[in-house]
């Protein structure tokens, strides 16, 4: 129990946990049905009422909700409470024009802080720690989510946010940060820079890092741990269900414990929608159990994982999900920003370039970089340069991500046989 923030829930007997899940589910279903027209129609179309879902298994009767559904609710159609009761707004990242807007009541914010405190305590953090949060503070959920968790835990918080790598390192050294919260790629970049600067990572106070918001491999974990001389822990969350705090690794790092008192996880076959058993890999589907402002029912995350109900050595009884290895769809995640190739394509087409293009993802000094190669009929060097700049500016503005544009001559992009591959991922994720 030493490393649990809410041992009552984190180590709860499964039968008792399921009772609580059922109770919270009934409330969530009624709340969503009564206050969100989309869910009311979803139920009505399926010939169901919230009162028909009387067990956790019955939840399978409820149709899925997708990212597209949520996007259509822009901005507030999915809010289940009046705006006067919404204390905070965040958005999903990297979507063109209209992101998914999520709201939090005061109670949602309180719970969110607890969920984030769980992540940090599971990594051994306490009052004596100095936590450097290098997630962007803004509409992105990462910064504020961890900030509240670290404060609740009683740690000393450095809201470093989005500063340059050099300043991050200065802050880390001068303020004696003992923990880092960031994107894994960001941590790698800090590690590389330390090496360049000739700083011995053992001279830092840093001992543990909490990384998430983009997929990262065991190889990346080893690199981070070697370069920073820390223990690197994974955590998972997404804006649609409230941001970080869905699941987290404990010291044994055998999968991520899902905070099941707040989220009901299912893994489905992405093609048939059928619910899969423990150990079977499929798409993670989440239902929130205690959200007031933004309840979400059976949300298809698009992330591939599997669930394990085997007991964990840490004493937590919460189910573990395997580390997310990939996506069901073609969504790509670069520096914590989610985007679909189709969004890039739309922008390219508006400049009358293409139609063939290739998105290349690679890593430079530990940082994810994106480049798009696209065919253009323009010939003048000056015009080509100007066009490149204009497209780059538009991509950055609409996607929130800097993407280098490389214009190619017509026929310069080889269309491979069959389905054209539009993304080339050279990062070692």
């Amino acid at each position: 129990m030493k490393w649990m923030w809410n041992p009552k829930y984190e180590a709860m007997d499964r039968e008792e946990l399921e009772q609580i899940q059922l109770e919270r589910l009934q409330a969530t279903l009624h709340h969503a049905y009564r206050h969100v027209p989309f869910y009311r129609e979803l139920f009505d179309r399926a010939g169901l009422g919230p009162g028909d879902i009387l067990s956790l298994q019955d939840l399978r009767e409820v149709p899925f909700t997708t990212k597209e559904d949520l996007l259509q609710g822009f901005p507030y159609a999915f809010f289940a409470v009046p705006l006067t009761n919404v204390a905070r707004i965040h958005t999903s990242s990297g979507t063109t024009g209209k992101p998914i807007v999520v709201g939090y009541t005061k109670r949602d914010l309180q719970y969110w802080a607890h969920l984030n405190a769980r992540i940090l305590l599971a990594g051994g953090l306490g009052e004596r720690d100095v936590v450097q949060i290098s997630f962007n503070y803004g509409l992105f959920t990462g910064g504020f989510g961890f900030h509240a968790g670290a404060e609740l835990l009683g740690a000393t918080v450095i809201p470093a946010s989005a500063m340059s790598i050099t300043r991050q390192i200065n802050v880390m050294i001068n303020f004696k940060a003992t923990a880092l919260v960031s994107l894994p790629s960001h941590a790698l970049r800090i590690g590389h820079r330390l090496q360049e600067m000739g700083i011995d990572p053992r001279s830092l106070s840093l001992k543990v890092g909490f990384f998430g918001a983009e997929p990262w491999s065991e190889a990346t974990r080893r690199q981070i741990e070697d370069h920073l001389m820390i223990k690197a822990l994974d955590n998972y969350g997404l804006a649609e269900v409230g941001g970080p705090g869905v699941s987290y690794e404990c010291e044994y790092r055998q999968g991520l414990h899902v905070s099941e008192d707040h989220f009901y996880p299912e893994v489905i076959d992405p093609t048939t929608g059928e619910v899969l058993g423990p150990g079977q890999e499929g798409e993670l589907v989440l239902t929130t159990l205690a959200k007031e402002a933004f309840p979400v029912l059976r949300f298809r995350t698009g992330d591939l994982t599997s669930l394990s109900y085997e007991p964990c050595e840490c004493g937590r009884t919460l189910v573990r999900m395997s580390r997310v290895k990939g996506r069901v769809d073609d969504m790509i995640i670069v520096r914590g920003i989610n985007l679909f190739p189709s969004q890039v394509e739309d922008i390219l087409l508006s400049f009358q370039v293409g139609p063939n293009y290739l998105i290349r993802l690679y890593r430079e000094e530990g940082l994810d970089q994106a480049e798009v190669q696209v065919e253009s009929v323009l010939t003048g060097a000056k015009e080509r340069k100007a066009l490149t700049k204009r497209i780059e500016r538009d991509l950055a503005e609409k996607l929130g991500l800097e993407i280098r544009v490389v214009l190619m001559d017509p026929g310069g992009i080889k269309a491979s046989s069959g389905k054209q591959q539009v993304v080339m991922d050279e990062r070692e994720i």
């Binding site: 709340h31 009162g51 009046p82 006067t84 009761n85 109670r107």
Partner: protein, 242 residues
């Protein structure tokens, strides 16, 4: 300690409780709040066995959903009815002794508990020979409560103890409830229309609307949250649906 799953209550063809699930721990106070007609009292009556119900009620691992009201009372599930239904033509003391009917064979226990009830409600002690019908509203509520305590409740079911009483008397009753909760560790399921009062007294609460539980949580979380009052208890309903 007690778990209910998919509990339904019907009055003829009208479904007053639509398959609710809830639980209560030993020594815990849980409140059911919500507007009039939401089904709160029906939940209590289902637990005490006086209305027909469907679903599971599990007391310490045992299904008690089929037990009669008398058998349930012997299990320690005892209801203080709404509207202070005391036997007006009997004396205060006779009312109390009736409450102890399931424990009538244990004379020593009866005597001690009666004295404890008089200690909790000194007013009842003063009026022990008086007819219950001559008591004031507040005193009748105290008597109804005292009578339930005589049944040795493990789970005390309280239906609207503040209904129709002056604020100062309500305060008095809740003060006594706190005292008895401290002196004997018993679980209390409370139905109240006065939500702030219930939230202050209970550890956890379930909010009901139209026969369904639409929200649950620890009361300290619910109190600090305007949303509960606004959205669930109807303060801002008009704004909401415009």
């Amino acid at each position: 300690m007690l778990k209910a799953r998919r509990l339904k209550v019907f009055y003829g063809r009208i479904q007053a409780v639509k398959g609710v699930s809830f639980h209560i721990h030993k020594g815990e106070t849980v409140a059911f709040i919500g507007p009039n007609g939401a089904g709160k009292s029906s939940v209590l009556m289902a637990l005490s066995g006086v209305v027909r119900k469907e679903g599971e009620v599990i007391l310490e691992g045992r299904d008690i959903s089929q037990l009669s009201p008398y058998a349930l009372a012997k299990e320690g599930i005892i209801q203080v009815p709404e509207g202070r239904q005391v036997f007006s033509s009997l004396t205060v003391e006779e009312n109390l002794l009736l409450g102890g009917f399931p424990k009538r064979k244990d004379k020593k226990w009866m005597k001690e508990t009666k004295e404890w009830v008089y200690h909790l409600f000194p007013l009842l002690a003063e009026r022990r020979r008086q007819l219950a019908g001559s008591l004031s509203g507040g005193e009748q509520q105290m008597l109804a409560l005292g009578r339930a305590l005589m049944g040795d409740p493990r789970i005390l079911l309280l239906d609207e103890p503040s209904l129709g009483l002056a604020p100062v008397i309500v305060e008095d009753i809740y003060r006594t409830l706190r005292e008895l909760r401290k002196e004997r560790s018993m679980s209390i399921i409370l139905v109240e229309q006065n939500a702030p009062l219930a939230l202050e007294f209970a550890h956890r609460a379930y909010v009901m609307e139209s026969g369904a539980i639409v929200l649950s949580g620890e009361t300290e979380m619910l109190i600090s949250d305007d949303t509960v009052l606004d959205v669930y208890l109807g303060r801002a309903r008009e704004d909401f649906f415009d």
